[in-house]
């Protein structure tokens, strides 16, 4: 879509009644020497204001590319992006960077995995927070500095005056991630992406950062997309969970429904391969054989079929569609979904 048609559609369609984010059949392919990598291959979902969505999957499942593709943070070259991303009714696929710049930071923001490499090492922390404020909000320098101070206190950083004048290397990993969150929420975005926000942190600090994200999300009524490989991280902290495999959503449900009544064999296998603290030691772990598929030459039929204990010939030839939401809002793509009784007894074979 050209810039003109973008401006046109934004003039006609935006509406505050529209859902905050509607993603429809989003595809993101990378051209490489080895072939086309189908990193995101037809993802659709809707996110309402103030709601949280967890996106879960193994490395290479496309979850990070999905977040970046929605935000338009992709390399310019060798990328094919198609489908639709509507933010408050405005189409973002095809929008150019000058138009996206009005959304980045202001309407949607991202907290990245590694706070050390995503902060500017040669710029004071205070300046990194006020940069976005000054850009988007047209406020005075003093006002921006006051806001930065308030933001640092609100993300739980002691002695914020002193911290504003520090550089990222003078802070611990947990403090840096708090700064990242302060930068991301500075302009009051309506949608916050958190891409593995705690993977680089210790378990005690992880709990603090997740609590912080949750309180900020609730207080500011932001919608949040929490991307992680850890089902434990999303369990108590999201409204809905989407499980990704090979660039597609294979199961999506409200969080409680997913954990109590999971239907996709991959979700089941993922959940049962995690060692549980409540199991006695030396409990034999259930494993998923093989490894995630090659996204250049993905298997035919269901992408999980080569690793699935329940796969039949049908699974290997015909790809199951994502089902329409049932009365619980539960969707899954499987020809032979896990039944409750089977799940309790056999698990992964």
């Amino acid at each position: 879509m050209s810039a003109e048609s973008f401006a046109e559609s934004s003039a006609t369609t935006p509406s505050s009644d529209a859902p905050l984010l509607v993603v429809n059949n989003l595809k993101t392919y990378f051209k490489t020497d080895r072939g086309l990598v189908r990193a995101v291959d037809g993802v659709s979902f809707t996110l309402e204001r103030g709601r949280t969505l967890g996106v879960v999957g193994e490395s290479g499942s496309g979850k990070t590319v999905l977040a970046r593709s929605i935000m338009g943070l992709l390399p310019k070259r060798d990328v094919e992006r198609s489908g639709s991303v509507k933010f408050e009714g405005v189409e973002l696929v095809g929008a150019d960077n000058s138009l996206m710049a009005q959304y980045w930071g202001d309407q949607m923001a991202m907290v990245f995995q590694d706070p050390m490499t995503s902060l500017n090492p040669v710029m004071r922390v205070g300046k990194q927070i006020t940069e976005g404020l000054r850009q988007h909000l047209d406020i005075s320098k003093d006002h921006a500095n006051q806001t930065a101070l308030a933001l640092l206190s609100s993300v739980g950083i002691p002695e914020p005056e002193r911290r504003l004048r520090q550089y990222p290397h003078e802070m611990s990993g947990g403090m840096r991630q708090r700064v990242m969150i302060a930068i991301a929420i500075a302009c009051g975005p309506k949608l916050l992406f958190a891409d593995e926000p705690t993977t680089a942190l210790d378990v005690t600090v992880q709990a603090q950062i997740l609590d912080l994200l949750q309180t900020q999300q609730r207080d500011r009524y932001m919608a949040m997309i929490l991307v992680t490989h850890d089902l434990g991280v999303v369990a108590g902290r999201t409204d809905e969970i989407a499980v990704m495999y090979a660039g597609k959503i294979v199961e999506k449900a409200p969080t409680k429904v997913l954990f109590s009544n999971l239907r996709h064999p991959y979700t089941e296998a993922l959940l049962s391969s995690i060692p549980k603290i409540s199991d006695p030691s030396h409990t034999r772990l259930k494993t998923i054989g093989g490894r995630p598929p090659n996204l250049i030459n993905p298997p035919t039929g269901c992408k999980f079929s080569p690793r699935c204990a329940y796969a039949t010939d049908k699974c290997r030839t015909e790809e199951p569609p994502l089902s329409a939401p049932d009365s619980d809002g539960h969707q899954f793509s499987c020809w032979f979904p896990v039944e409750l009784s089977a799940k309790q007894t056999s698990g992964v074979r």
């Binding site: 739980g156 603090q208 609590d211 991280v233 060692p275 772990l285």
Partner: protein, 343 residues
């Protein structure tokens, strides 16, 4: 907590017995020193898996390296059988290598990218001239098959042709090829996806049974450590906090730090409200200036003046459950949540 003492050392036979180990690193030219391991005594019994857990910076990896003598400790003893590795140097130390092996965190960077897998696994056998040509080759094929690698296809390939999980299998094959007594595993699964992590944990259990190994398993993930260990030692800032059997330790932690660590683990159950659980505020203090007395007192909700003045000694509070704390939690006692838990 984080105390010293030897009450927990076994009187019987041990494979490894570490006493009063100190490892210090100088910081630039400042004259300051970081005590990464500050007076640790611990033993490892024949055939057991000892889990070492703690946050980053607690000294668990340094302890593993100091046992291997990759990092030389400043003082203390590392008894391997009846030899003190600390007294050995050069050729004598080298002679212990095939009996004491290590598996590292990053499986890809710990394999030489320019060598073929067959050569990587075989190198130890060649160096030690174990068996003849044919038996070495047979051993390489055997260990590769045992770790679940298609040996015939793999020996001619180089590490970059394998995934992270497969590289970790190759590392394990290399470690067991010389038939060691002890393998130190330093975060062997933390770089792997959960589905692959489960495969490697199961494999380590199988290898332990097949080759009669003793393992020291270093990790930050408490659930992983519980799964594989026979005893678990919790470390904080260079000291031991608590050591017990996993089922006892996880059911009723006595050290406030252990309790806090356990409560911080995310649980894959939406019925559990994560924000209502106890936890610790703040972060691990700088090891350059560790707190006086008990090193955990600055983050401990139960700390008193005594904790600042006196370093707790390790004591046995229940059979096979040792803790270094002046005010250990009783069975069933919950750690109060910190008000200062700002986030």
């Amino acid at each position: 907590m984080a105390g010293t003492g030897k009450a927990h050392l076994s009187q019987g036979e041990t494979v490894l017995r570490i006493e009063d180990l100190f490892v210090e690193f100088p910081v630039g030219r400042s004259g300051l020193k970081v005590s990464a391991v500050a007076g640790i005594s611990i033993d490892v019994r024949e055939g057991e898996t000892l889990g070492l857990v703690g946050e980053s910076g607690c000294g668990k990896s340094t302890l593993g390296k100091a046992i291997m003598q990759i990092v030389r400790a400043n003082s203390g003893h590392v008894m391997f059988g009846d030899i003190d590795l600390m007294t050995l140097q050069g050729e004598e130390l080298r002679q212990t290598r095939p009996r004491l092996q290590m598996i590292f965190q990053d499986p890809i960077s710990s394999l030489n990218p320019r060598r073929r897998v067959g050569k990587i696994v075989r190198e130890g056998l060649d160096i030690w001239k174990i068996g003849d040509e044919a038996s070495r080759q047979a051993k390489v094929l055997e260990v590769l098959e045992v770790v679940g690698i298609d040996a015939e296809a793999a020996i001619g390939r180089r590490p970059h042709e394998f995934s992270g999980g497969q590289c970790q299998r190759i590392s394990i094959a290399r470690a067991v090829a010389t038939e060691p007594r002890v393998i130190i595993c330093d975060e062997p699964v933390s770089a792997l996806d959960v589905s692959v992590q489960a495969q490697i944990l199961n494999l380590l259990e199988d290898m332990k049974a097949r080759y009669g190994l003793t393992l020291v398993f270093i990790a930050h993930d408490l659930a992983v450590v519980k799964n594989i260990s026979d005893r678990v030692a919790v470390m904080y800032l260079g000291k031991l906090c608590e050591i017990a059997t996993p089922d006892d330790l996880y059911a009723s932690p006595a050290h406030p730090y252990t309790a806090a660590l356990l409560s911080a683990i995310p649980v894959a159950d939406p019925e559990v409200n994560p924000t209502l659980r106890g936890g610790v505020g703040g972060e691990i203090p700088s090891p350059l200036a560790p707190p006086s007395g008990c090193r955990f007192r600055t983050r401990c909700p139960l700390a008193t003046e005594k904790c600042a003045e006196e370093e707790p000694q390790i004591q046995e509070i229940r059979p096979n459950h040792f803790v270094a704390c002046h005010f250990p939690l009783a069975e069933g006692q919950e750690l109060p949540a910190l008000e200062a838990n700002i986030a």
